[in-house]
């Protein structure tokens, strides 16, 4: 005969956490797939200009970056607040770009050297004088493939 027990306290069973690792792993793989390793730590503040006709950069391993912008707060004391150039992890003079590119190129595979692309990541308020200097140095270093880094903006073009 079935007994109907009424008086006993009913306990909610503990939530099983055995699937938690799986969920976290899913997250992990998701992030591993959609993100990329940080190239460097920024020492200059770069908020890229926007454009509508941007294309994706195809080959990241063949790309070198030149950052242009105003130094971050913690560097203003030493570097001033004027627009500066950052190559790799350090501040640089415009004159150093040529040598930097040449060094970077000679460190690459010989078959890849001609495919070297230089991405100019400049802040949108940068004056073109600085960018022009960079372009001239890149020409002298024979790095002719360049990309003006810009963020994608939805249609509607206004200055």
């Amino acid at each position: 005969m079935a007994k109907i027990r009424k008086d006993q306290e009913r306990e909610t069973p503990a939530l099983s956490t055995s699937s938690l690792p799986d969920i976290i792993f899913m997250f992990l793989f998701f992030f591993m797939a959609v993100t990329t390793m940080k190239e460097i730590t920024f020492k200059v503040r770069v908020s890229p200009p926007t454009a509508t006709e941007v294309t994706k950069l195809e080959n990241k391993s063949l790309t070198r970056y030149v950052y242009v912008g105003k130094p971050m707060e913690q560097y203003i004391k030493t570097m001033g607040s004027e627009t500066r150039i950052q190559l790799g992890d350090a501040f640089a003079d415009p004159a150093e770009i040529q040598q930097y590119i040449i060094n970077e190129r000679s460190a690459m595979n010989e078959s890849d050297q001609s495919m070297l692309t230089v991405s100019i990541k400049a802040d949108k308020n940068t004056k073109m004088g600085v960018v022009n200097d960079i372009k001239q140095s890149l020409r002298r270093a024979n790095a002719l493939k360049i990309v003006y880094s810009a963020a994608k903006k939805p249609e509607a073009t206004e200055l």
Binding site: I24, F31, M32, V131, N132, V147
Partner: protein, 194 residues
């Protein structure tokens, strides 16, 4: 005595390990994908040679100048950036064979056949030292957009698809019809002192 059971490995710390990995990847990676406008610089000149005056027929040249106030001078007229795309398209296409627009010549292109194109046109972009980068990029963007629209129109007309959906060979053909020719001259001081 019965068989000894190996006790199950306690997997409750698995979640913690996974969390650690997750946080590590969140910190060291960045979400941003690099996008931008690809360009090709002109080859360097030997140090003691002056820039040669390029002999370009005047009607083939579309001059865009940006001054220090980020204003545009297109073919000698002040212009709003919104109108630049249309103007550039008119110039590149030269539908009516206007004598002030670039010379059209018949060219035989594989997959397309014989077409009349303005193959010698050059868009020259000059900017001041004080021009803002955003303004410069906007102008570049409009010029690229003009080319992209022309290419898309042409592909749709001929192949019934937009340019991006064509295969490589067809893309090359369309590129040959509308070659991108944006030249970046040395900077000059326009617009006087600030």
């Amino acid at each position: 005595m019965g068989k000894r059971k190996t006790s199950e490995i306690n997997s409750s710390s698995m979640a913690d390990i996974a969390f650690l990995l997750l946080i590590f990847f969140l910190v060291t990676t960045s979400m941003s994908t690099s996008t931008g406008l690809a360009r090709r610089l002109p080859p360097p000149l030997p140090p003691d040679v002056k820039a040669p005056d390029q002999d370009i027929n005047k009607r083939n040249l579309f001059a865009v100048k940006v001054n220090s106030q980020n204003e545009l001078l297109v073919q000698g007229e002040l212009m709003n950036i919104k109108d630049l795309r249309k103007k550039a398209k008119e110039f590149i296409e030269n539908t009516n064979n206007d004598p002030n627009m670039p010379v059209k010549s018949k060219v035989n292109i594989p997959l397309v056949g014989e077409v009349e194109i303005t193959k010698d046109h050059v868009i020259s972009l000059q900017n001041d030292v004080d021009t803002e980068y955003q303004a410069y990029i906007s102008v570049q963007n409009e010029l690229v957009a003009a080319y992209n629209e022309l290419r898309n129109d042409f592909s749709r007309q001929r192949f019934g698809k937009i340019y991006d959906d064509l295969d490589e060979e067809h893309q090359k053909a369309v590129q040959a019809v509308y070659p991108q020719k944006i030249s970046e001259a040395e900077p000059k001081n326009y617009g006087g002192v600030k």
